[in-house]
């Protein structure tokens, strides 16, 4: 069954739209997104994993977790819930922090809005919009060792990037 995955960046790569469909009812998907025990099992992209330190799921509350590399290196992330519509949507602003509750740089680094929709066949569609606040965010990801060297993709995407307004 197709999962209709889509990943699109705007021309400045500051806003990213992600769509994905899951073969499960919305209640189950909502739980997977909000229960820290479940989140820890899938949020960390292999070979990294995620370990939740604090999950306070309410507006103004935070999800504090470490992204742990296979070498055991921890990158702390801190997401504050800015809006929650129960069973429908979650908005967060996120930043890197030192693991003790102090941001490693001032201000939020990126915002994420996640919307859940029931679709035919007892399935769920998830729409995510990530907005990066400033140009420096991407470099911070790189500098934090969040991503290591990758494979460059074709220039056709660059053409699109340059052509789009």
């Amino acid at each position: 069954m197709t999962n209709n995955f889509a990943f699109e960046a705007d021309s400045t790569a500051k806003k990213i739209h992600i769509v994905r469909e899951f073969n499960a009812p919305i209640e189950k998907i909502w739980k997977a997104w909000t229960d820290p025990e479940i989140l820890d099992k899938w949020w960390g992209p292999k070979p990294s994993r995620v370990e939740t330190k604090v999950m306070d799921f309410r507006v103004g509350g935070t999800w504090q977790f470490a992204m742990i590399s296979p070498e055991g290196q921890k990158h702390w992330l801190y997401a504050e819930f800015t809006a929650i519509e129960n069973g429908k949507s979650i908005s967060t602003k996120a930043l890197f922090f030192d693991g003790e509750g102090n941001p490693v740089n001032s201000g939020p680094n990126w915002y994420r809005d996640t919307r859940f929709t029931s679709i035919e066949g007892n399935r769920t569609r998830v729409n995510i919009v990530i907005t990066y606040e400033d140009d420096a965010t991407f470099e911070r990801f790189i500098n934090n060792g969040y991503f290591k060297e990758g494979t460059a993709i074709g220039y056709n995407q660059l053409d699109e990037l340059l052509a789009s307004e």
Partner: protein, 101 residues
């Protein structure tokens, strides 16, 4: 002021200059001819592109030619590709987990 690849492509004129330079190296005059803005404004954009590292220049006698530097632009592609893969992997893991929930 710090410069990065994102700043290079944040402005439509700069994107247009990059598109021109993808087709081949050009002198500042030749670039400026393509735009209604003043030569000075175009020069400023070229300067920013150079500072961002996406454009380099060579000098032959009194002539300066600006070149597109694709290596630098790859940073954005690499970043987006990494991010895309991260979300794909993450979602695949959730797919596998859903059977157990």
């Amino acid at each position: 002021m710090r410069r990065d690849t994102f700043q290079a492509i944040a402005d439509p004129t700069r994107r247009a200059i990059l598109t021109l330079l993808v087709t081949g190296a050009m002198t500042p005059n030749a670039i400026a001819e393509h735009f209604d803005s003043s030569r000075q404004a175009v020069s400023k954009h070229i300067q920013i592109l150079t500072e961002c590292g996406v454009v380099t220049h060579t000098q032959t006698g009194r002539e300066i030619h600006y070149h597109f530097n694709p290596e630098k632009m790859k940073e954005i592609d690499i970043w987006l590709e990494q991010l895309r893969k991260m979300w794909m992997d993450r979602f695949d893991q959730l797919d596998n987990l859903l059977n157990e929930l």
